[in-house]
């Protein structure tokens, strides 16, 4: 246990300078330490040392899957003769997630510096930030920051005279949740509809234009400068074993102070809700909590004190995901929430796998009549069968995400569903 009794004592990493006015401007960012350590990395570190530090740091991907970042980097084959590409995943589409937006709009140079360091480690010369199309304001801020970085020779050819060259381009998506899935993201940057690819081959081996490609989340890449500056060991001491570091939790729904809070992994859920988010809007016990974005199975009041780590949430049958916590208090209509999420997944299914394309539609149509109090006697069984048979039978995890809220509803609130069925409709 390495969390101080007051988690607020632990210094933020990604949000360290988020409240500094005009932090988006290079001059201000530099006055607060941006790019300070970059020359040391470019001149004195080599690829294997950087990857080792990131492995030692133990950081797991902050976008949803929680895969160890250093390990992902080590999968990139070297000397294939092909270029290696770096993609920053800033699609931020998982309902409940809104953390990367704050990094990009308030401290874009942190992300850029992280990408330069990652690019250097992986011998990347062309890097991209795939940002969801709706974030036009944030894309503009990034472009201004990138232009300033180019002008200061922090990007482009022969960066700071070190011989390392890297170009960085902001690429806007256009409203498709599935493009947050890394192979769909790659398809999208190739100018195609975002349909996930079969894996393997994984992108690290065969990604963008069939070349080795690393896709990392905004928060993950923004943590790299601190890891390299302070060392992997330093980072590994924050949080919990196998769940190291700080994590930004996006808390929304029925809490008094929704927002982004960066806390050490392992902080209890209840502490986050009560001490940071000002508690629930109504009552003192949550009715249900979605802990890791809309695709994660729901937690109940009995889990209110769970330490927020990848492993603890997996043990509880859910997942930490992107750290997006949606809170439902005693007034929430859980059937309506599940119906709304069913609509989301039906709308966002890319349509290439039959179980997902058909299944998400089934779930939505049935949930619509259940919400309206017109459910049929066997609807609970049909919902359960459809959700169970979709999950794990498709190319990507969207079907699993669609099944999670429905199965959670049926498991924890069967009486609320039953109350909306028409008795003996036959």
């Amino acid at each position: 246990m390495t969390i101080p009794s007051d988690p607020k004592q632990v210094k933020a990493i990604c949000f360290a300078n988020i409240h500094v006015p005009d932090m988006r401007k290079l001059e201000v960012a530099r006055a607060h330490g941006a790019y300070e350590f970059l020359p040391t990395v470019l001149n004195e570190f080599d690829s294997s040392r950087i990857i080792d530090e990131v492995k030692t740091a133990g950081i797991r991907g902050r976008g949803g899957a929680g895969f160890p970042t250093g390990l992902k980097w080590s999968f990139v084959p070297r000397s294939t003769g092909k270029p290696t590409y770096l993609m920053c995943n800033a699609d931020e589409g998982e309902p409940g997630t809104f953390k990367d937006r704050d990094i990009m709009r308030f401290d874009p140079h942190l992300l850029i510096e992280g990408m330069i360091m990652a690019g250097f480690a992986l011998d990347v010369h062309d890097a991209y930030i795939y940002i969801r199309g709706e974030f036009l304001h944030e894309a503009n801020i990034l472009n201004e920051a990138i232009a300033e970085a180019y002008a200061a020779n922090l990007l482009g050819e022969n960066i700071l005279g070190t011989g390392f060259s890297m170009h960085l381009t902001v690429h806007r998506g256009a409203g498709a949740y599935i493009c947050g899935e890394e192979t769909a993201l790659i398809e999208s940057v190739e100018g195609k509809p975002g349909r996930p690819r079969f894996k393997p081959p994984f992108p690290a081996v065969e990604g963008f234009y069939r070349c080795p490609t690393v896709v990392n989340n905004v928060e993950t890449l923004s943590t790299i400068p601190a890891i390299l500056k302070h060392g992997g060991d330093w980072h590994a001491q924050i949080g919990q074993p196998n769940n190291t570091g700080m994590k930004i939790f996006s808390v929304s729904g029925q809490v008094n102070k929704p927002g982004n809070y960066e806390v050490p992994l392992g902080t209890p859920l209840k502490t986050l809700i009560e001490d940071y988010c000002g508690g629930l809007q109504h009552g003192s016990v949550p009715k249900a909590i979605i802990p890791g974005g809309s695709s994660s199975p729901w937690l109940m009041a009995e889990h209110y004190e769970i330490p927020l780590t990848f492993d603890e949430l997996a043990k509880a049958g859910s997942m930490l995901g992107s750290g997006a916590i949606i809170v439902m208090d005693e007034t929430a209509d859980v059937v309506a929430v599940a119906r709304r999420l069913a609509h989301f997944y039906a709308h966002e299914s890319c349509g290439q796998c039959t179980p997902c394309r058909e299944g998400t539609g089934w779930l939505e149509r049935i949930m619509m009549r259940v919400e309206a109090g017109q459910g049929r006697p066997d609807d609970i069984q049909v919902l359960s069968d459809a959700a169970t048979h979709m999950a794990g039978r498709t190319i990507c995890a969207l079907a699993d995400g669609a099944a999670a809220p429905i199965l959670s509803l049926l498991k924890h609130f069967p009486e609320e569903v039953r109350a909306r069925l028409v008795e003996s409709a036959a």
Binding site: H167, S250, G259, R340
Partner: protein
């Protein structure tokens, strides 16, 4: 439409597109960004505009059609001068988004997805806008309005009307 009315990119746009294309291993990669530019320039992506994009990037029209119809932000029909997109996903719904949409539609005398007869306002429901801490969220012409209320939307509609101007 006669040949002289075919949509064309400005010279500045053409230069911007050429520079963009050079940043990717293949020209097709610039498709989404160029469609965003085209939508900004022409208001929506008519078939003629889609043909222009296909020619500009040297890709098949079908490749453009496939992308335009896949991504929600691309519009094949014109919309109101003020496109009001209300997020009604879970966090926004738990903070009154459904009531907000109903109020806006009521006030404008339209249903979700429709445009007012004067071409001023379109109201749509959209999926999670990625700003759930400010729920409910309404995007008006790509500008985020967080913690939106019936009153704040009324004020926005009144201000837009006062500034006048048809679409």
């Amino acid at each position: 439409m006669s040949a002289s009315e075919q949509p064309q990119f400005s010279e500045a746009r053409k230069a911007e597109i050429a520079s963009l294309v050079s940043r990717y291993p293949g020209a097709r990669s610039a498709l989404l960004p160029v469609l965003h530019m085209a939508q900004e320039d022409f208001g929506y992506l008519s078939m003629d505009v889609q043909k222009l994009v296909a020619e500009t990037l040297g890709v098949r029209l079908m490749a453009v059609r496939e992308v335009v119809t896949f991504y929600t932000m691309f519009r094949e029909q014109p919309c109101g001068k003020y496109l009001m997109e209300v997020c009604t996903n879970a966090s926004c719904m738990l903070n009154g988004a459904n009531e907000l949409v109903a109020h806006m539609c009521d006030r404008l005398g339209i249903r979700v997805g429709e445009t007012t007869p004067d071409g001023m306002f379109t109201v749509t429901e959209v999926e999670c806008a990625g700003a759930c801490g400010g729920a409910p969220v309404v995007q008006v012409n790509n500008v985020y309005h967080e913690k939106a209320t019936p009153e704040s939307m009324d004020a926005l509609i009144e201000k837009a009307r006062a500034e006048g101007g048809a679409a």
